[in-house]
Amino acid sequence: MTEAIDQLFVSLKRWIEGFFPEPWRSTISIVLIVVPILVMFGTLFAVATILERKGLGRIQNRYGPNRVGPFGVLQPVADGIKALIKEDVVPYRADKVVHFLAPIALLVPVLLTFAVLPYGRNMVPVDLNAGVLYFFAVGAGTELAVFMAGWSSRNKYSLLGAMRAIAQMLSYEVPLILSAVTVVMIVGSLSTVKIVQAQDFTVRADGSLGLFPNWFVFTPWGLAGFILFTIAGIAESNRTPFDLPEGESEIVAGYFLEYSGFKFALFFMAEYFEMFAVSGMAATLFLGGYGAPLSWLTWIPTWFWFMAKVVAFLALFIWLRGTLPRLRVDQLMNFAWKFMLPMTLINLVAAAIWHFMGPGLARWFVCAALLIVPYFWLAHGLGFGKRLTKRTYRYAE
C-alpha cells in the first residue's frame, strides 16, 4: 500500500502511456513529465505569492490581501488576470527585439533547471550523469537575460539595476558552486539521484533502519555548506536581503523597470521559479532530497517529503524577507569575496579531511574546529576591526 502511494505518479504515467500506440510513447512520455512539472510549479508560484504577502503582512502587523475570495486566497487569480489584460508598454527608444526576448531568455533557463531535481523515488525527469553541473550551467544563462532586459530598456535605472544584478550573481555563483562541490566530493558522483541515495538511512545488521538518516547537513562540513549554499542561493535569486538590483527606494525596480503587463509577471515568475529551483537543489544536496527525516516516517510518500522541504525553504525565505534589511553594495561584495569565498574554500578542505580520516569521533572535532575558528576570524575581518556596540537611541522629550 505504502509502495503503491509512493509510486502513484509513476504508475499513473505508465497507465496513461498504455493508451497510445508504441511509436508515440516516447513523445507522450516527455509530455507527461513536462506538463505536470509546469503545472505543479505554476500552482506553487500562485500559492507562494499569497503566502508571501500574507506572511509579510503578519510580520508587519497588518492583514495583507483580504478582499478577493475568503481571506484573500483568490488574490493570485486576480493578479494573473490583471497582468494579462494590462497594456504592454514598450519604451519608444527601447531596443524592441532584445526587450521582447529578455523575459523569455530569463524564464527558459530557470525552467530547464527543474529537469534534474529528483521529486521522489523514480521521479527524476532526466537522471543525468552530470546533473549538478547541468543545474549550475543552465542557471548561469539567466545573467545574460538580466543584462538584456536592463540594456534594451534604455533607462538609466534599468542599466544600473542590471549592472548590480550581474555583479551580485557573478560574485555569489562562486560560493554557490563551491559549497555544492563538497557534496559531490563526498558522494563521488554528479548525479542528483546518487546524491539522494547516499543520504539514505543506514541499514542495521538485522535489516531495520537507523533512526536518523545520513543527511549531509548533520556533519560539520555539511552544515557549513548548507548555510553557505542557502545564503548564496538567496543572493542568486535576488531576494531580500540581497535585492539590491531591484531596490525600490533607489532604482525604482531595477532591470525590469520598463516592463509592464505579463512581461513583468514573467520576471516575477522567473524570480520565484529560481527560488524553487535553489530550494529543491539545497534539499537534494544537503537535506536528503526526497528522504524522510525519521525512519518511522518512511510510510509517507517520498514526493510529499520533497515538496515539504521546498515549502519549508519558501517559509524561510519569506521570514528572512520580512525581518532583514537590505544590504549596501559594498557590504554585499565584501561579504561575498571576503567571507563566503574563503569559508567555502576552507569547507572544501574540511570535507576532504572528513573523507580521509574515516569513521570515528576525531574527525568531528577536527572538522568543527577547522570551520569555527576561520568563521570568527573572517567575521572579525569583515567588521574591519570595528567594535560593534549596541546602538543607542535618543528620543525627543
Partner: protein, 188 residues
Amino acid sequence: MSLPFAIIAVLTIAAAVAAMNLRNLVHCALALTVAFAGLAAAYLQLDAQFVGFAQILVYVGAVAILIVFAILLTRGGDTPQQSIFSSSWLAGAAVAVVVFGVLAWTVVNSAASRRELPPQPEATVKQIGDALMTKFVLPLEVVGLLLTAALIGAVIIAMKEDRPELRNHASKNGTKAETSGQIVNRKS
C-alpha cells in the same frame, strides 16, 4: 548527418554570421552567445556532457558577460553610421574561400578521414576527473598557476592607487583657488 545536428549547425553558423554582420556591438555579442550555446549543443549531441555543460557555464555564463561589459565600459555600444564593411571585403572573402577550400580538401583526402571509427568510449565526468588528477595533473597545476597569476595581475591593475602626487592633484582640484594662475603654474 542527423536532423538535430543539422539544426544545431545551421543555428550556430547563422549566429556566428550575425555576430560579424550586425551593426550594434551589443547585438553582435548576444549573437555570439547563441553561437557559443550552439557549440555546447553540438558537444552534448556527441554525448560529451562535461564539455558541453562546462562550455555553457564558462562561455554563456561568464565570457559573454565579460564581452558585454567590455563593450559598455569602452565605447558605450553606440551604432556606427557608416558602412561596417571594409572596402576590400571582396579580397577578404576570396582569401577566406581559398583557405576553406584548401583545408576542406586536405581534411577529405587525409588518412584520418578514412580511418575506421573506434567504438564510442563512455566518457563520464568521473573518468575525466580521474585523468585530470593522475595523468594530466601537471598541466592542470600549470593552468591553475597561470590563472592565479592573471587574477593577481587584474587585482593589482584595479587596485586603488595611493600615490602622493595623485592625492595632491585630487586635493587641488577640490580647492577654489585652482583658477588663479599661480597655482596652475606650480602644478605644472
